[in-house]
Assembly symmetry: C2
Homo-oligomer: 328 residues x 2
């Protein structure tokens, strides 16, 4: 079967494609486990690294998800599964509303329509976000039954796609599932335009010996999960029997609620003798105002009942990052 990963050149997209190459198989629309023979990494930019495996064609396709024909061209087989990770991120969406609407909302709709046009109800996993929650009336702890009143355009578009995934699934046009992701750590590489970029940065940059300007106070709480558990959770959601999801196809992934100072403490515990860059608080109101709208405590009873994986603690997450990216 074919796998299409939108946002495939991004960090999660590349990790997901590697995970799928390791697995080699996915549950096909027919309900049986089938070998993957083609993976397409679709993105607005080139993938920085080639990935390949015996017998599996891995192609990178560059294009605009806001262009309907481009998206329909990607979904050219009935035995296909789609992982929809492409998105304008939170900070980017606050700076360019129209781009967020075009990529996140129009692009998402093109993808749903392209999958609907195939036979046999292909599976589609959409990467949603905790940013679907927000607002003055948001409870201290959010969960799968909390009303979604996001206070960023990013969060709005994620909520809208969750709703559309539900309705396309209810109508039998496809078999959709949405994974509500907490902040993913530890992202390698450069900082990005996401308001959450600092959550990885405060671990990654000091580990690379680089001084880091923390844009929020150390007391800031965030709901995080490591990329290994996130990628495994996305695959787990794809593989679940759809009947277990019922009429609401979105599941909040598990997360750990931690303060930035707890992250820094864990970093110091794990790092051993490695010399760390310095961390200095330099408040950035643009970032702070977005982060303040996010929930910090996320109940994940549903994910627990459905067997989603989670790391044990921050130390484990940081150790994985060192193992995967610093000890090569």
């Amino acid at each position: 079967m074919k796998v299409v990963i939108t946002g495939g050149a991004g960090f999660l997209g590349r990790r997901l494609s590697r995970r799928l190459l390791e697995r080699g198989r996915l549950t096909a629309p027919s309900g049986t486990s089938e070998p993957i023979d083609e993976i397409v990494l679709f993105d607005v930019g080139e993938s920085p690294e080639a990935i390949s495996a015996d017998g599996v064609a891995v192609r990178t396709i560059t294009g605009d998800i806001g262009d309907r024909d481009t998206v329909f061209g990607l979904i050219d087989r009935d035995d296909v599964s789609v992982f929809h990770l492409a998105s304008v991120v939170s900070g980017g969406g606050e700076k360019d509303f129209d781009l967020a609407m075009r990529v996140n909302l129009d692009g998402g709709r093109h993808l749903l329509e392209a999958v609907r046009a195939r036979d046999g109800k292909p599976r589609l996993v959409f990467a949603s976000s905790l940013a679907v929650f927000g607002g003055a009336a948001m409870p201290t702890a959010v969960g799968d039954r909390t009303k979604q009143t996001p206070q960023t355009t990013y969060g709005i578009t994620k909520t809208v796609l969750e709703l559309l995934v539900n309705d396309y699934s209810r109508k039998g046009y496809l078999d959709g599932r949405s994974a509500r992701l907490p902040t993913v750590i530890v992202r390698p590489g450069k900082p990005n335009a996401a308001a959450s970029s600092f959550v990885s940065g405060v671990i990654r940059e000091p580990l690379n010996g680089i001084d880091f300007a923390l844009p929020v106070p150390e007391t800031t709480s965030v709901a995080v999960l490591g990329y290994r558990a996130i990628v495994d959770g996305i695959v787990h959601l794809h593989e679940l029997d759809g009947d277990r999801l019922g009429d609401d196809r979105a599941v909040g992934l598990p997360s750990l609620t931690v303060t930035v100072s707890e992250m820094i403490e864990a970093l110091r515990r794990v790092v051993g003798t490695r010399r760390l860059g310095r961390i200095a608080v330099e408040p950035d109101p643009f970032i702070g105002n977005i982060v303040d709208t996010w929930p910090t405590v996320c109940l994940s009873e549903r994910a627990g009942n459905l067997g989603f994986p989670s790391e044990e603690n921050l130390d484990e997450i940081i150790r994985y990052f060192i193992e995967d990216y610093l000890e090569e």
Copy 2:
């Protein structure tokens, strides 16, 4: 100032335009009360009756809300207020998904963009619906903080528009408000494609001496409100100081929870000596399945705090209908 009512040829649109002609004024984007000098009733079909008043040009414009240029042509002044009532209804949306997406979602977005393109943040009131609620996990009583997991395409598009109205308002592109309407009774004229059509029909048809086939059991509960309170509530929402709405611009209007048999009892109480058509239960699973997804008890604490009007009881609602439509 100018007023644009989408769905202006519909029952609520015509009643709203008459109410606005009576008032003669609305709060303009500037925050001051200004005289209305132009009302446009925009609809896909012609208005069945002409409405006019001294000094106010009332025009009917026929067109497709799914066409961007048409919608931009309507919003041709900065001193404008928009009442967005146009919608493919619930039963219609289940039968034609693509039309519901085009009219309710694309049309709504065109309207938000057209208002955004004006200066001074015009006010826009969007008619949402209790159909935004639904699903297996819906609580017995829904309210302004209940998660929206609608189980009709109609409800999905209404929820999406509520979210977009919130975000356009947050961004300062317009001053939007959403009124979540319960089932409006008693609609005059012919039955329509709404799954809720029977709720008016069970009163209207017998009053007109016509036998009525009730498509649901008499024990069915519905949340209803009379059209006078609905129209007054829509105007009240337009006039409210936006600061009182905060970051969630949608308000559930008050409603009365009644069973169909209570409606029939009230009808018999109010009707006096008028001869009624007979009511026979003839279950229609298409209607019943949609109605089963709707909430029946709706908390309206927020509407109460904000001073929204409500009728006292069913008897009052039925008496208004007789006064407005049967005693001419």
